[in-house]
């Protein structure tokens, strides 16, 4: 509580807000990628978001999917309404819900199977459906594309799209989630454009 208050005060003093307007090239050097962020969208800064209401919302979102590898989280109207997420996770790291593991040299279809099982095994959501599982390229690397849907504990149906690929020792992903009704379709093209600009900087970053 004390830490949260201090961070909030510091954030205010520094002029740091939990959301920052974005647009244009974004480079995440340590995480080995760059991407063009869409105009008019906001990047969520987790470390500056100490508001109790935000905490509740983030806890809810984190139950739907593990945010451990997330590096960029974007939204236009609010995280509950749509979010584009870019991230990567080490392939030696266990995924939160599935007992299956990623490994170097896995074929895209095999990686997709593990990611699907991780979604299907999540006990916090239900009625998971994989609507599309197909080969795709991410930053020129062979990978997969998933379209899926699920239901939250509150009964809201969420639809998601995920491009993923294992490159070197990392699993990279560009993901989009929004309520199935209205919101998913609304910003899907923006997500596709973001995905098209996503570029892994070096092939092997082991």
């Amino acid at each position: 509580m004390k830490t949260a208050a201090i961070v909030s005060c510091l954030a205010l003093l520094c002029g740091c807000a939990p959301y920052v307007m974005v647009g244009g090239k974004y480079t995440a050097g340590p995480e080995n990628f760059e991407v063009d962020l869409p105009q008019g969208w906001r990047k969520h800064e987790l470390r500056f978001d100490q508001h109790p209401a935000s905490r509740v919302m983030l806890e809810e979102l984190n139950k739907r999917r593990d945010p451990a590898g997330d590096i960029v989280r974007l939204t236009r109207d609010g995280l509950l309404l749509q979010q584009i997420i870019i991230g990567r996770t080490g392939i030696d790291k266990e995924l939160p819900h599935t007992k299956r593991k990623l490994s170097k040299g896995m074929l895209p279809q095999e990686v997709a199977e593990v990611i699907i099982d991780n979604i299907r095994s999540n006990p916090n959501i239900s009625n998971q459906n994989v609507l599309e599982n197909s080969p795709a390229r991410l930053s020129g690397y062979t990978g997969f594309k998933l379209i899926y849907s699920y239901q939250t504990k509150e009964g809201l149906r969420i639809k998601g799209a995920c491009y993923g690929a294992v490159v070197g020792d990392w699993y990279y992903y560009v993901l989009y989630e929004a309520p199935e009704r209205y919101y998913f379709t609304k910003d899907y093209q923006v997500f596709e454009q973001v995905k098209d600009t996503f570029k892994i900087l070096k092939a092997d970053t082991t």
């Binding site: 007992k99 074929l107 279809q109 099982d117 095994s121 009625n127 080969p135 062979t142 509150e154």
Partner: protein, 394 residues
């Protein structure tokens, strides 16, 4: 817009409570002194159960195999006590779910998961579970449980802590309501469960089954859960629940049923359960429950050593587990599967994927093309075509 499952469960419990006009919690079992009629609140509970069952039956999660259902129906029939035989309807259905569980609705509809059947070794073990579940129906445990907890703080507390399993193999896809949740997850009071053990044990022995198999089943399920570090989300797979059942069964065996032998029905059971083993193993493999899958595949191959499908799934087990030398073992098993049935598509894919990883382009191309020729409409056709394209481009 559909109501969230948590709200539906809560609402259904409140309805159950509101329906509850009678104060008596102790009820005579069906058949005692000719009793077969229902009390008013019980009738409503049955109607509620039928509604839940309709949803369950439309969920696509029922395992429809007429030979297996007929076999389970015969075991169920054999256990029904004489005084109610032909006068009540007790039916058992199978749910496609790799988790260990079985549960009963108050109207005598018993459901058992494929994951539980796959862990059993014989008919006596199946009969143990059916007899226990059947007792919940005959002795009217659901309505007793509902009346017992009516209006108590502890009941509301129980509602709060029910961890209804979600996920693809959880409760939500089965669309179970309050009655189903109570039967499948929260269970009955310790006293009623003990009664189900005792009366069920008696039904088991009267039907001529070997009661020693009851303890073996519980030990087998416990061992499996410990070995694979599985936390089963349902009642019948949970450690404290199993421990209680084991304690009661051991006590019954050591006292009034000591020395009783009986029918195990291992051969009959093995024959009937055969198709479930691979179907359930496929679910276990997709969830990374490798030991459980391997156990079922081994049992399948023991009974059908020349099965191409059995060898393919054993190959899949090795390829997906991915430990040292697993890939080489997988190759041998896929080749064996092809030997048993050259036109079976899946092992060709398995081989193609292995060769692709090993950089053996020509062999990969041959195997993957063969896979597509035998399965031209395969779900993963796009992936295979992409692999073939990459091979051609290299």
């Amino acid at each position: 817009m559909s109501m969230p499952i948590k709200n539906r469960i809560g609402l259904a419990f409140l309805i159950l409570l509101a329906l509850n006009a009678c104060a008596t919690t102790s009820l005579s079992p069906f058949g005692k002194e000719g009793l077969l009629s229902l009390e008013e609140d019980e009738k409503r509970l049955w109607i509620r159960s039928e509604e839940e069952q309709k949803k369950l039956h439309n969920s696509g999660y029922l395992y429809e195999d007429s030979a297996l259902l007929s076999f389970i129906s015969n075991v169920t029939e054999r256990l029904i006590p004489e005084e109610i035989k032909g006068r009540v309807s007790i039916q058992t259905r199978v749910i496609k779910n790799p988790h260990v569980n079985a549960f009963t609705f108050p109207n005598g509809r018993i459901y058992i998961h494929t994951g539980f059947l796959a862990k059993m070794e014989n008919e006596a073990q199946l009969a143990t579970v059916l007899a226990h579940e059947m007792t919940h129906f005959i002795n009217r445990h659901t309505i007793q449980q509902v009346r017992r907890v009516r209006g108590t703080a502890s009941f509301l507390g129980t509602l709060q802590v029910i961890a209804a399993p979600a996920g693809v193999y959880g409760l939500a896809p089965l669309l179970l309501g309050a009655v189903g949740v109570m039967a499948a997850v929260s269970g009955y009071s310790k006293e009623l469960e003990t009664e189900a053990d005792r009366v069920g044990f008696d039904l088991l022995v009267k039907a001529g089954y070997d009661p020693a198999e009851a303890v073996k089943l519980i030990e087998h399920v416990q061992k499996h859960a410990e070995e694979e570090k599985i936390e089963e989300p349902f009642l019948f797979g949970s450690h404290p629940y199993l421990q209680d059942r084991k304690g009661n069964y051991v006590q019954l065996l050591q006292s009034e049923y000591g020395g009783k032998g009986g029918d195990k029905g291992a051969e009959r059971f093995t024959r009937m359960i055969h198709p479930i083993l691979l179907d359930n193993a496929a679910m276990d493999l997709s969830m990374g429950r490798f030991n459980s899958a391997k156990d079922a595949i081994d049992r399948f191959l023991q009974n059908e050593p020349g099965s191409a499908k059995g060898h393919y799934y054993l190959g899949e087990f090795h390829r997906k587990r991915g430990q040292e030398s697993d890939a080489q073992t997988a190759e041998k098993l896929y080749l064996l599967a092809v030997q048993h049935d050259p036109s079976y598509a899946d092992p060709h894919k398995g081989l193609g994927l292995l060769y692709l990883k090993w950089g053996q382009k020509e062999k990969a191309r041959e195997s993957l093309e063969r896979y597509l020729s035998f399965a031209p409409h395969a779900e993963d056709k796009a992936y295979i075509e992409q692999y073939l394209q990459e091979i051609a481009n290299r």
